[in-house]
Protein backbone atom coordinates (compact mmCIF):
# COMPACT_ATOMS: atom_id res chain seq x y z
CA UNK A 1 0.00 0.00 0.00
CA UNK A 2 2.33 2.73 1.24
CA UNK A 3 5.51 1.05 0.06
CA UNK A 4 8.32 3.50 -0.33
CA UNK A 5 10.16 2.79 -3.55
CA UNK A 6 13.28 4.45 -2.14
CA UNK A 7 13.97 1.71 0.40
CA UNK A 8 13.30 -1.79 -0.91
CA UNK A 9 11.06 -3.35 1.78
CA UNK A 10 12.79 -6.72 1.52
CA UNK A 11 15.67 -5.38 3.64
CA UNK A 12 13.45 -4.43 6.56
CA UNK A 13 11.43 -6.87 8.63
CA UNK A 14 9.30 -4.19 10.24
CA UNK A 15 8.73 -0.57 9.22
CA UNK A 16 6.54 1.55 11.49
CA UNK A 17 5.79 5.08 10.27
CA UNK A 18 4.05 8.00 12.03
CA UNK A 19 2.15 5.62 14.23
CA UNK A 20 -0.62 6.91 16.48
CA UNK A 21 -2.75 4.71 18.68
CA UNK A 22 -5.51 6.20 20.80
CA UNK A 23 -7.82 4.08 22.92
CA UNK A 24 -11.37 5.27 23.69
CA UNK A 25 -10.99 8.28 21.43
CA UNK A 26 -13.22 11.21 22.36
CA UNK A 27 -14.34 9.59 25.60
CA UNK A 28 -13.39 10.76 29.10
CA UNK A 29 -11.12 7.73 29.51
CA UNK A 30 -9.16 8.48 26.33
CA UNK A 31 -5.61 7.13 26.41
CA UNK A 32 -2.86 8.16 24.03
CA UNK A 33 -1.18 4.76 23.96
CA UNK A 34 1.35 5.59 21.27
CA UNK A 35 2.28 8.90 19.67
CA UNK A 36 4.52 9.57 16.67
CA UNK A 37 6.30 6.21 16.66
CA UNK A 38 8.94 5.62 13.98
CA UNK A 39 10.72 2.28 14.05
CA UNK A 40 12.56 0.19 11.51
CA UNK A 41 13.74 -3.32 12.31
CA UNK A 42 16.24 -4.74 9.84
CA UNK A 43 16.08 -8.31 8.70
CA UNK A 44 17.91 -10.61 11.11
CA UNK A 45 18.06 -7.92 13.79
CA UNK A 46 17.15 -8.42 17.44
CA UNK A 47 15.32 -5.42 18.90
CA UNK A 48 14.20 -5.10 22.52
CA UNK A 49 11.38 -2.78 23.53
CA UNK A 50 11.72 -1.57 27.10
CA UNK A 51 9.89 0.92 29.26
CA UNK A 52 7.74 1.28 32.37
CA UNK A 53 4.26 -0.18 32.31
CA UNK A 54 1.85 1.95 30.34
CA UNK A 55 4.51 3.06 27.85
CA UNK A 56 2.78 1.17 25.07
CA UNK A 57 5.46 -1.45 24.35
CA UNK A 58 2.95 -4.29 24.29
CA UNK A 59 0.58 -2.13 22.28
CA UNK A 60 3.32 -1.53 19.72
CA UNK A 61 3.95 -5.28 19.50
CA UNK A 62 0.24 -5.94 18.98
CA UNK A 63 0.10 -3.27 16.29
CA UNK A 64 2.98 -4.98 14.47
CA UNK A 65 1.11 -8.28 14.88
CA UNK A 66 -2.07 -6.68 13.48
CA UNK A 67 -3.97 -7.84 16.55
CA UNK A 68 -5.11 -4.23 16.98
CA UNK A 69 -5.41 -1.47 14.37
CA UNK A 70 -3.49 1.82 14.43
CA UNK A 71 -5.45 5.03 14.75
CA UNK A 72 -3.09 6.59 12.24
CA UNK A 73 0.13 5.66 10.50
CA UNK A 74 1.34 2.54 8.80
CA UNK A 75 2.88 -0.76 9.82
CA UNK A 76 4.73 -2.73 7.16
CA UNK A 77 5.80 -6.26 8.07
CA UNK A 78 7.95 -8.33 5.75
CA UNK A 79 7.34 -5.85 2.96
CA UNK A 80 3.54 -5.96 3.17
CA UNK A 81 0.83 -4.30 5.25
CA UNK A 82 0.62 -5.84 8.74
CA UNK A 83 -2.81 -7.28 7.98
CA UNK A 84 -1.53 -9.22 4.97
CA UNK A 85 1.50 -10.36 6.96
CA UNK A 86 -0.80 -11.80 9.62
CA UNK A 87 -2.90 -13.62 7.04
CA UNK A 88 0.29 -15.07 5.56
CA UNK A 89 1.56 -16.05 9.04
CA UNK A 90 4.74 -14.07 8.44
CA UNK A 91 5.42 -13.91 12.16
CA UNK A 92 5.22 -16.15 15.20
CA UNK A 93 4.27 -14.94 18.66
CA UNK A 94 5.15 -15.89 22.22
CA UNK A 95 3.66 -14.42 25.37
CA UNK A 96 4.52 -14.32 29.06
CA UNK A 97 2.16 -17.22 29.69
CA UNK A 98 3.29 -20.01 27.42
CA UNK A 99 -0.35 -20.32 26.36
CA UNK A 100 0.03 -23.96 25.43
CA UNK A 101 -3.25 -25.79 24.96
CA UNK A 102 -3.34 -28.15 27.91
CA UNK A 103 -5.44 -30.76 26.06
CA UNK A 104 -2.82 -31.14 23.33
CA UNK A 105 0.47 -32.98 23.54
CA UNK A 106 3.67 -30.98 23.18
CA UNK A 107 4.03 -32.08 19.55
CA UNK A 108 0.43 -31.20 18.70
CA UNK A 109 0.84 -27.80 20.34
CA UNK A 110 3.79 -27.09 18.09
CA UNK A 111 1.80 -28.32 15.11
CA UNK A 112 -1.16 -26.01 15.80
CA UNK A 113 -0.08 -23.22 13.39
CA UNK A 114 0.73 -25.83 10.73
CA UNK A 115 -2.65 -27.47 11.22
CA UNK A 116 -4.30 -24.10 10.67
CA UNK A 117 -2.25 -23.71 7.52
CA UNK A 118 -3.62 -27.01 6.28
CA UNK A 119 -0.42 -29.07 6.33
CA UNK A 120 -0.88 -32.84 6.24
CA UNK A 121 0.00 -34.99 9.21
CA UNK A 122 3.33 -36.45 8.05
CA UNK A 123 4.66 -33.03 7.18
CA UNK A 124 3.49 -31.67 10.52
CA UNK A 125 5.08 -34.53 12.44
CA UNK A 126 8.38 -34.03 10.66
CA UNK A 127 8.35 -30.30 11.40
CA UNK A 128 7.41 -30.69 15.07
CA UNK A 129 10.25 -33.18 15.47
CA UNK A 130 12.61 -30.69 13.88
CA UNK A 131 11.39 -27.91 16.18
CA UNK A 132 11.72 -30.11 19.28
CA UNK A 133 15.33 -30.79 18.29
CA UNK A 134 15.86 -27.04 17.89
CA UNK A 135 14.59 -26.25 21.40
CA UNK A 136 16.38 -29.32 22.80
CA UNK A 137 13.30 -31.22 23.94
CA UNK A 138 13.42 -34.16 21.51
CA UNK A 139 12.06 -36.67 24.03
CA UNK A 140 9.00 -34.72 25.04
CA UNK A 141 6.83 -34.91 21.92
CA UNK A 142 4.21 -37.06 23.62
CA UNK A 143 4.16 -35.24 26.95
CA UNK A 144 1.33 -33.02 28.06
CA UNK A 145 2.21 -29.35 28.75
CA UNK A 146 1.29 -29.63 32.43
CA UNK A 147 3.95 -32.30 32.83
CA UNK A 148 6.68 -29.79 31.91
CA UNK A 149 8.44 -27.11 33.95
CA UNK A 150 7.85 -23.42 33.23
CA UNK A 151 11.08 -23.08 31.26
CA UNK A 152 10.31 -26.16 29.19
CA UNK A 153 6.83 -24.83 28.47
CA UNK A 154 8.37 -21.60 27.18
CA UNK A 155 10.65 -23.61 24.90
CA UNK A 156 7.62 -25.36 23.49
CA UNK A 157 5.93 -21.99 23.02
CA UNK A 158 8.98 -20.75 21.10
CA UNK A 159 8.98 -23.93 19.03
CA UNK A 160 5.31 -23.34 18.25
CA UNK A 161 5.97 -19.71 17.31
CA UNK A 162 8.73 -20.77 14.92
CA UNK A 163 7.04 -23.93 13.60
CA UNK A 164 5.96 -22.38 10.32
CA UNK A 165 9.49 -20.90 9.89
CA UNK A 166 8.27 -17.30 10.01
CA UNK A 167 10.92 -14.69 9.31
CA UNK A 168 9.82 -12.67 12.34
CA UNK A 169 9.31 -13.55 15.99
CA UNK A 170 7.28 -11.26 18.25
CA UNK A 171 7.73 -11.86 21.96
CA UNK A 172 5.91 -10.21 24.85
CA UNK A 173 7.86 -10.74 28.08
CA UNK A 174 8.20 -14.44 27.33
CA UNK A 175 10.56 -15.08 30.25
CA UNK A 176 8.80 -12.78 32.70
CA UNK A 177 7.37 -15.62 34.76
CA UNK A 178 10.57 -17.65 35.01
CA UNK A 179 13.09 -17.68 37.85
CA UNK A 180 16.36 -15.84 37.30
CA UNK A 181 18.52 -18.91 36.57
CA UNK A 182 16.09 -20.39 34.07
CA UNK A 183 15.62 -16.96 32.60
CA UNK A 184 19.30 -16.42 31.81
CA UNK A 185 19.50 -19.90 30.37
CA UNK A 186 16.48 -19.27 28.17
CA UNK A 187 17.98 -15.98 26.95
CA UNK A 188 21.08 -17.82 25.78
CA UNK A 189 18.92 -20.48 24.17
CA UNK A 190 16.85 -17.86 22.38
CA UNK A 191 19.97 -16.26 20.94
CA UNK A 192 21.21 -19.64 19.75
CA UNK A 193 17.85 -20.47 18.15
CA UNK A 194 17.69 -17.09 16.42
CA UNK A 195 21.19 -17.35 15.03
CA UNK A 196 20.46 -20.89 13.80
CA UNK A 197 17.25 -19.86 12.10
CA UNK A 198 18.15 -16.29 11.13
CA UNK A 199 14.91 -15.04 12.67
CA UNK A 200 14.27 -11.35 13.28
CA UNK A 201 13.00 -10.69 16.81
CA UNK A 202 11.04 -7.89 18.43
CA UNK A 203 11.21 -8.56 22.16
CA UNK A 204 9.19 -6.75 24.82
CA UNK A 205 10.65 -6.80 28.32
CA UNK A 206 10.98 -4.68 31.42
CA UNK A 207 14.28 -6.17 32.49
CA UNK A 208 17.20 -3.93 31.54
CA UNK A 209 19.92 -6.65 31.55
CA UNK A 210 17.66 -8.92 29.53
CA UNK A 211 17.03 -6.20 26.94
CA UNK A 212 20.74 -5.45 26.60
CA UNK A 213 21.96 -9.04 26.64
CA UNK A 214 19.63 -10.08 23.85
CA UNK A 215 19.39 -7.11 21.55
CA UNK A 216 21.32 -5.35 18.83
CA UNK A 217 19.29 -2.27 19.65
CA UNK A 218 17.26 -1.40 22.71
CA UNK A 219 14.23 0.80 22.07
CA UNK A 220 13.50 2.84 25.20
CA UNK A 221 9.92 4.01 25.61
CA UNK A 222 8.12 6.29 28.04
CA UNK A 223 4.49 6.63 29.10
CA UNK A 224 1.78 9.31 28.91
CA UNK A 225 1.77 9.54 25.97
CA UNK A 226 3.54 6.32 24.98
CA UNK A 227 6.46 7.11 22.70
CA UNK A 228 10.00 6.13 21.80
CA UNK A 229 12.44 8.35 23.70
CA UNK A 230 15.73 6.81 22.72
CA UNK A 231 17.26 3.93 20.82
CA UNK A 232 20.42 2.49 22.39
CA UNK A 233 22.83 0.71 20.03
CA UNK A 234 24.25 -2.22 21.97
CA UNK A 235 27.05 -2.90 19.48
CA UNK A 236 28.54 -5.97 21.13
CA UNK A 237 28.26 -8.27 18.12
CA UNK A 238 26.06 -11.34 17.98
CA UNK A 239 28.39 -13.71 19.76
CA UNK A 240 27.18 -13.48 23.31
CA UNK A 241 28.07 -15.91 26.04
CA UNK A 242 27.72 -16.05 29.79
CA UNK A 243 30.90 -13.94 29.90
CA UNK A 244 29.05 -11.17 28.07
CA UNK A 245 27.02 -10.62 31.25
CA UNK A 246 30.22 -9.72 33.10
CA UNK A 247 31.83 -7.57 30.39
CA UNK A 248 32.39 -3.84 30.88
CA UNK A 249 30.64 -3.09 27.58
CA UNK A 250 27.58 -4.89 28.87
CA UNK A 251 27.47 -2.83 32.07
CA UNK A 252 28.00 0.37 30.11
CA UNK A 253 25.04 -0.41 27.86
CA UNK A 254 22.93 -1.37 30.88
CA UNK A 255 23.78 2.01 32.39
CA UNK A 256 22.90 3.75 29.11
CA UNK A 257 19.50 2.09 29.01
CA UNK A 258 18.87 2.73 32.70
CA UNK A 259 19.64 6.41 32.28
CA UNK A 260 17.58 6.66 29.16
CA UNK A 261 14.70 5.14 31.13
CA UNK A 262 15.23 7.47 34.06
CA UNK A 263 15.53 10.41 31.74
CA UNK A 264 12.34 9.46 30.05
CA UNK A 265 10.63 9.23 33.38
CA UNK A 266 11.91 12.36 35.03
CA UNK A 267 11.86 14.52 31.92
CA UNK A 268 14.14 17.42 31.12
CA UNK A 269 15.15 18.50 34.63
CA UNK A 270 16.58 15.06 35.43
CA UNK A 271 18.91 15.13 32.49
CA UNK A 272 21.60 16.89 34.52
CA UNK A 273 22.38 13.90 36.70
CA UNK A 274 22.83 11.73 33.65
CA UNK A 275 26.38 13.03 33.12
CA UNK A 276 28.74 10.49 34.55
Amino acid sequence: MTKKPASPPADDAVVVRDLLKVFNRGKPNQVDALVDVQLTVRRGEFVSLIGPSGCGKSTLLRLIADLIQPTQGSVIVNGKPAHQARLDQDYGMAFQQSGLFEWRTVARNIELPLELKGWDKTRRRARSREMLELVKLPDFAGHMPWQLSGGMQQRVAIARALAAHPPLLLMDEPFGALDEMTREHMQAELLRICSETGTTVVFVTHSIPEAVYLADRVVVMSPRPGRITRIVEVGMGRDRTELTREATDFFDRVTDVREALRGAELGAQARGIEDR
Partner: protein, 295 residues
Protein backbone atom coordinates in the same frame (compact mmCIF):
# COMPACT_ATOMS: atom_id res chain seq x y z
CA UNK B 1 6.67 -48.78 37.59
CA UNK B 2 5.30 -52.27 38.24
CA UNK B 3 4.69 -51.29 41.84
CA UNK B 4 2.62 -48.33 40.75
CA UNK B 5 0.65 -50.57 38.42
CA UNK B 6 -0.11 -53.09 41.16
CA UNK B 7 -1.17 -50.33 43.50
CA UNK B 8 -3.46 -48.97 40.81
CA UNK B 9 -4.88 -52.43 40.20
CA UNK B 10 -5.64 -53.01 43.85
CA UNK B 11 -7.30 -49.61 44.08
CA UNK B 12 -9.38 -50.47 41.04
CA UNK B 13 -10.35 -53.82 42.53
CA UNK B 14 -11.37 -52.18 45.77
CA UNK B 15 -13.48 -49.67 43.87
CA UNK B 16 -15.13 -52.42 41.86
CA UNK B 17 -16.00 -54.23 45.10
CA UNK B 18 -17.50 -51.07 46.57
CA UNK B 19 -20.50 -51.16 44.24
CA UNK B 20 -21.90 -54.60 45.17
CA UNK B 21 -20.96 -53.90 48.79
CA UNK B 22 -23.03 -50.72 48.80
CA UNK B 23 -26.05 -52.68 47.51
CA UNK B 24 -25.60 -55.22 50.27
CA UNK B 25 -25.37 -52.41 52.82
CA UNK B 26 -28.61 -50.84 51.62
CA UNK B 27 -30.31 -54.23 51.81
CA UNK B 28 -28.97 -54.72 55.35
CA UNK B 29 -30.22 -51.31 56.44
CA UNK B 30 -33.63 -52.15 54.99
CA UNK B 31 -33.81 -55.44 56.82
CA UNK B 32 -32.48 -53.92 60.03
CA UNK B 33 -35.17 -51.26 60.07
CA UNK B 34 -37.79 -53.81 59.18
CA UNK B 35 -36.65 -55.90 62.12
CA UNK B 36 -36.32 -53.10 64.71
CA UNK B 37 -38.76 -50.42 63.51
CA UNK B 38 -42.33 -49.98 64.79
CA UNK B 39 -44.68 -52.36 62.90
CA UNK B 40 -47.46 -49.80 62.66
CA UNK B 41 -45.18 -46.90 61.79
CA UNK B 42 -44.36 -44.10 64.17
CA UNK B 43 -44.34 -40.39 64.76
CA UNK B 44 -41.36 -38.12 65.04
CA UNK B 45 -42.14 -34.70 66.54
CA UNK B 46 -45.81 -35.33 65.90
CA UNK B 47 -45.36 -36.18 62.21
CA UNK B 48 -45.84 -39.60 60.70
CA UNK B 49 -42.31 -40.12 59.45
CA UNK B 50 -41.45 -43.68 60.34
CA UNK B 51 -42.59 -46.22 57.77
CA UNK B 52 -44.58 -49.26 58.73
CA UNK B 53 -42.46 -52.36 58.78
CA UNK B 54 -45.07 -54.98 57.96
CA UNK B 55 -44.61 -57.18 54.92
CA UNK B 56 -47.06 -55.16 52.86
CA UNK B 57 -45.22 -51.86 53.26
CA UNK B 58 -41.70 -53.27 53.42
CA UNK B 59 -41.37 -56.71 51.88
CA UNK B 60 -38.18 -58.64 52.60
CA UNK B 61 -35.39 -57.97 50.15
CA UNK B 62 -35.15 -61.67 49.27
CA UNK B 63 -38.87 -61.65 48.48
CA UNK B 64 -38.24 -58.88 45.97
CA UNK B 65 -35.45 -60.83 44.34
CA UNK B 66 -37.52 -64.00 44.40
CA UNK B 67 -40.35 -62.11 42.76
CA UNK B 68 -38.15 -61.40 39.76
CA UNK B 69 -38.31 -65.05 38.73
CA UNK B 70 -42.12 -65.31 38.71
CA UNK B 71 -44.40 -64.22 35.88
CA UNK B 72 -45.79 -60.69 35.83
CA UNK B 73 -49.41 -61.84 35.98
CA UNK B 74 -50.37 -65.37 36.92
CA UNK B 75 -50.82 -67.46 33.82
CA UNK B 76 -48.41 -65.54 31.62
CA UNK B 77 -45.21 -67.21 30.59
CA UNK B 78 -42.62 -64.40 30.77
CA UNK B 79 -40.88 -63.94 34.09
CA UNK B 80 -41.19 -60.47 35.57
CA UNK B 81 -37.45 -59.75 35.32
CA UNK B 82 -37.77 -60.16 31.57
CA UNK B 83 -40.78 -57.83 31.42
CA UNK B 84 -38.99 -55.24 33.58
CA UNK B 85 -35.78 -55.56 31.57
CA UNK B 86 -37.64 -55.02 28.32
CA UNK B 87 -39.38 -51.95 29.69
CA UNK B 88 -36.11 -50.62 31.12
CA UNK B 89 -34.32 -51.18 27.81
CA UNK B 90 -37.10 -49.29 26.04
CA UNK B 91 -36.91 -46.39 28.50
CA UNK B 92 -33.15 -46.41 28.30
CA UNK B 93 -33.19 -45.94 24.55
CA UNK B 94 -35.65 -43.06 24.86
CA UNK B 95 -33.56 -41.49 27.66
CA UNK B 96 -30.36 -41.92 25.67
CA UNK B 97 -31.93 -40.24 22.65
CA UNK B 98 -33.15 -37.46 24.96
CA UNK B 99 -29.67 -37.09 26.41
CA UNK B 100 -27.92 -36.95 23.03
CA UNK B 101 -30.41 -34.52 21.51
CA UNK B 102 -30.51 -32.46 24.70
CA UNK B 103 -26.71 -32.15 24.80
CA UNK B 104 -26.56 -31.21 21.11
CA UNK B 105 -29.35 -28.68 21.52
CA UNK B 106 -27.61 -27.21 24.58
CA UNK B 107 -24.32 -26.92 22.68
CA UNK B 108 -25.97 -25.31 19.65
CA UNK B 109 -27.76 -22.80 21.87
CA UNK B 110 -24.51 -22.00 23.69
CA UNK B 111 -22.65 -21.49 20.39
CA UNK B 112 -25.40 -19.18 19.10
CA UNK B 113 -25.28 -17.21 22.34
CA UNK B 114 -21.50 -16.90 22.22
CA UNK B 115 -21.59 -15.83 18.59
CA UNK B 116 -24.34 -13.24 19.01
CA UNK B 117 -24.50 -11.20 22.20
CA UNK B 118 -28.08 -10.25 21.34
CA UNK B 119 -29.07 -13.90 21.21
CA UNK B 120 -27.72 -14.37 24.71
CA UNK B 121 -29.79 -11.53 26.06
CA UNK B 122 -32.85 -12.65 24.12
CA UNK B 123 -32.65 -16.37 24.90
CA UNK B 124 -31.36 -16.57 28.45
CA UNK B 125 -34.57 -15.44 30.24
CA UNK B 126 -36.62 -17.95 28.26
CA UNK B 127 -34.20 -20.74 29.04
CA UNK B 128 -34.42 -19.91 32.74
CA UNK B 129 -38.21 -19.70 32.64
CA UNK B 130 -38.42 -22.99 30.72
CA UNK B 131 -37.00 -24.80 33.71
CA UNK B 132 -39.64 -23.46 36.09
CA UNK B 133 -42.50 -25.12 34.19
CA UNK B 134 -43.52 -28.28 36.06
CA UNK B 135 -43.05 -31.17 33.65
CA UNK B 136 -45.97 -33.07 35.15
CA UNK B 137 -48.17 -30.35 33.65
CA UNK B 138 -46.22 -30.13 30.45
CA UNK B 139 -46.24 -33.85 29.69
CA UNK B 140 -49.91 -34.44 28.80
CA UNK B 141 -49.98 -31.14 26.95
CA UNK B 142 -47.01 -32.17 24.82
CA UNK B 143 -48.46 -35.61 24.28
CA UNK B 144 -51.74 -34.24 22.88
CA UNK B 145 -49.90 -31.68 20.82
CA UNK B 146 -47.50 -34.13 19.23
CA UNK B 147 -50.13 -36.78 18.65
CA UNK B 148 -52.27 -34.18 16.89
CA UNK B 149 -49.41 -33.00 14.72
CA UNK B 150 -48.24 -36.51 13.87
CA UNK B 151 -51.55 -38.12 13.04
CA UNK B 152 -50.14 -40.01 10.07
CA UNK B 153 -47.14 -41.57 11.74
CA UNK B 154 -47.40 -45.01 13.28
CA UNK B 155 -45.47 -45.14 16.56
CA UNK B 156 -44.81 -41.73 18.00
CA UNK B 157 -45.96 -42.41 21.55
CA UNK B 158 -42.38 -42.17 22.74
CA UNK B 159 -41.89 -38.79 21.14
CA UNK B 160 -43.49 -36.56 23.81
CA UNK B 161 -41.64 -38.56 26.47
CA UNK B 162 -38.35 -38.01 24.71
CA UNK B 163 -39.10 -34.33 24.20
CA UNK B 164 -39.59 -34.04 27.97
CA UNK B 165 -36.20 -35.65 28.53
CA UNK B 166 -34.63 -33.23 26.06
CA UNK B 167 -36.43 -30.36 27.74
CA UNK B 168 -34.76 -31.16 31.05
CA UNK B 169 -31.39 -32.23 29.66
CA UNK B 170 -30.51 -29.29 27.41
CA UNK B 171 -30.61 -26.63 30.10
CA UNK B 172 -27.54 -27.46 32.23
CA UNK B 173 -25.57 -28.06 29.04
CA UNK B 174 -26.59 -24.75 27.48
CA UNK B 175 -25.75 -22.75 30.61
CA UNK B 176 -22.41 -24.45 31.35
CA UNK B 177 -21.31 -24.60 27.73
CA UNK B 178 -22.01 -20.88 27.41
CA UNK B 179 -19.92 -20.18 30.49
CA UNK B 180 -17.21 -22.53 29.26
CA UNK B 181 -17.09 -21.07 25.76
CA UNK B 182 -16.83 -17.58 27.22
CA UNK B 183 -14.08 -18.59 29.62
CA UNK B 184 -11.40 -18.96 26.94
CA UNK B 185 -8.46 -16.82 28.00
CA UNK B 186 -7.65 -13.70 26.06
CA UNK B 187 -4.06 -14.70 25.28
CA UNK B 188 -5.17 -17.92 23.60
CA UNK B 189 -7.73 -16.03 21.55
CA UNK B 190 -5.02 -13.56 20.57
CA UNK B 191 -2.78 -16.47 19.58
CA UNK B 192 -5.47 -17.90 17.29
CA UNK B 193 -5.92 -14.38 15.92
CA UNK B 194 -2.20 -14.19 15.17
CA UNK B 195 -2.59 -17.38 13.12
CA UNK B 196 -5.42 -15.65 11.23
CA UNK B 197 -7.70 -18.52 12.34
CA UNK B 198 -11.37 -17.84 11.63
CA UNK B 199 -14.22 -17.94 14.13
CA UNK B 200 -15.18 -21.55 13.45
CA UNK B 201 -11.62 -22.84 13.60
CA UNK B 202 -11.15 -20.97 16.87
CA UNK B 203 -14.40 -22.52 18.11
CA UNK B 204 -13.36 -26.09 17.41
CA UNK B 205 -9.63 -25.90 18.11
CA UNK B 206 -9.78 -23.63 21.13
CA UNK B 207 -13.15 -22.72 22.61
CA UNK B 208 -14.69 -26.18 22.73
CA UNK B 209 -11.67 -27.98 24.20
CA UNK B 210 -11.20 -25.14 26.69
CA UNK B 211 -14.85 -25.50 27.74
CA UNK B 212 -14.55 -29.20 28.61
CA UNK B 213 -13.94 -28.69 32.35
CA UNK B 214 -17.16 -26.67 32.48
CA UNK B 215 -19.02 -29.13 30.32
CA UNK B 216 -18.44 -32.43 32.09
CA UNK B 217 -20.39 -31.65 35.30
CA UNK B 218 -23.21 -30.40 33.09
CA UNK B 219 -23.21 -33.69 31.18
CA UNK B 220 -23.70 -35.59 34.43
CA UNK B 221 -26.65 -33.37 35.26
CA UNK B 222 -28.05 -33.78 31.76
CA UNK B 223 -27.81 -37.57 31.99
CA UNK B 224 -29.74 -37.60 35.26
CA UNK B 225 -32.26 -35.08 33.94
CA UNK B 226 -32.88 -37.10 30.78
CA UNK B 227 -33.73 -40.15 32.91
CA UNK B 228 -36.00 -38.17 35.24
CA UNK B 229 -37.72 -36.51 32.29
CA UNK B 230 -38.34 -39.83 30.56
CA UNK B 231 -39.57 -41.71 33.63
CA UNK B 232 -41.85 -38.88 34.74
CA UNK B 233 -42.95 -38.39 31.14
CA UNK B 234 -43.91 -42.05 30.85
CA UNK B 235 -45.93 -41.88 34.03
CA UNK B 236 -47.82 -38.77 33.10
CA UNK B 237 -48.46 -39.56 29.44
CA UNK B 238 -49.32 -43.19 30.17
CA UNK B 239 -46.75 -44.66 27.82
CA UNK B 240 -47.20 -48.38 28.53
CA UNK B 241 -43.93 -49.72 27.23
CA UNK B 242 -41.55 -47.93 29.59
CA UNK B 243 -40.34 -48.65 33.10
CA UNK B 244 -41.94 -45.49 34.50
CA UNK B 245 -45.35 -46.85 33.68
CA UNK B 246 -44.46 -50.20 35.27
CA UNK B 247 -43.64 -48.45 38.54
CA UNK B 248 -47.07 -46.86 38.51
CA UNK B 249 -49.08 -49.94 37.54
CA UNK B 250 -47.16 -52.32 39.81
CA UNK B 251 -47.74 -49.85 42.61
CA UNK B 252 -51.45 -50.41 42.14
CA UNK B 253 -50.91 -54.13 42.81
CA UNK B 254 -49.05 -53.38 46.02
CA UNK B 255 -51.79 -54.63 48.34
CA UNK B 256 -51.94 -58.11 46.88
CA UNK B 257 -48.35 -58.41 45.65
CA UNK B 258 -46.06 -56.00 47.56
CA UNK B 259 -42.66 -57.16 46.18
CA UNK B 260 -43.86 -56.62 42.59
CA UNK B 261 -43.48 -52.84 42.81
CA UNK B 262 -39.86 -53.23 43.80
CA UNK B 263 -39.00 -55.23 40.69
CA UNK B 264 -39.95 -52.15 38.66
CA UNK B 265 -38.02 -49.93 41.06
CA UNK B 266 -34.96 -52.11 40.42
CA UNK B 267 -35.45 -51.50 36.71
CA UNK B 268 -35.69 -47.75 37.18
CA UNK B 269 -32.60 -47.76 39.41
CA UNK B 270 -30.69 -49.79 36.84
CA UNK B 271 -31.72 -47.26 34.20
CA UNK B 272 -30.26 -44.45 36.25
CA UNK B 273 -27.07 -46.38 37.01
CA UNK B 274 -26.40 -47.36 33.41
CA UNK B 275 -26.98 -43.80 32.25
CA UNK B 276 -24.65 -42.35 34.86
CA UNK B 277 -22.00 -44.98 34.02
CA UNK B 278 -22.23 -43.93 30.38
CA UNK B 279 -21.90 -40.27 31.27
CA UNK B 280 -18.89 -40.99 33.51
CA UNK B 281 -17.26 -42.86 30.63
CA UNK B 282 -17.97 -39.92 28.31
CA UNK B 283 -16.54 -37.57 30.94
CA UNK B 284 -13.36 -39.65 31.16
CA UNK B 285 -13.04 -39.69 27.38
CA UNK B 286 -13.38 -35.91 27.16
CA UNK B 287 -10.93 -35.25 29.98
CA UNK B 288 -8.38 -37.89 28.99
CA UNK B 289 -5.72 -35.33 28.10
CA UNK B 290 -6.41 -32.81 30.84
CA UNK B 291 -4.31 -32.51 33.98
CA UNK B 292 -5.60 -34.79 36.74
CA UNK B 293 -8.01 -33.02 39.03
CA UNK B 294 -6.58 -32.07 42.43
CA UNK B 295 -7.63 -34.69 44.96
Amino acid sequence: MTEAVTVKRSVRLRRALMYPLSFVLVACAWELYKWLGPPAGGKVLGMRLLARTNDRAMPHTWKMIERLAHPEVRGRSDAIWLVVSRATWYSFRVALAAFVIGVLLGLVLAVVMVRFKTAERALMPYLAISQTVPIIVLAPLLATLIININKGLVDTKWLPVMVLGVFLAFFPVAVSALKGLQSTNAASLELMDSYAAGWWKTLFKLRFPAAVPYLTPALRLAGASAVVGVVVGEISTGLRTGVGRLVLSYGQDATSDPPKLYTAVFGAAALGLVMSALVVALDKLLRRNLPPEPV
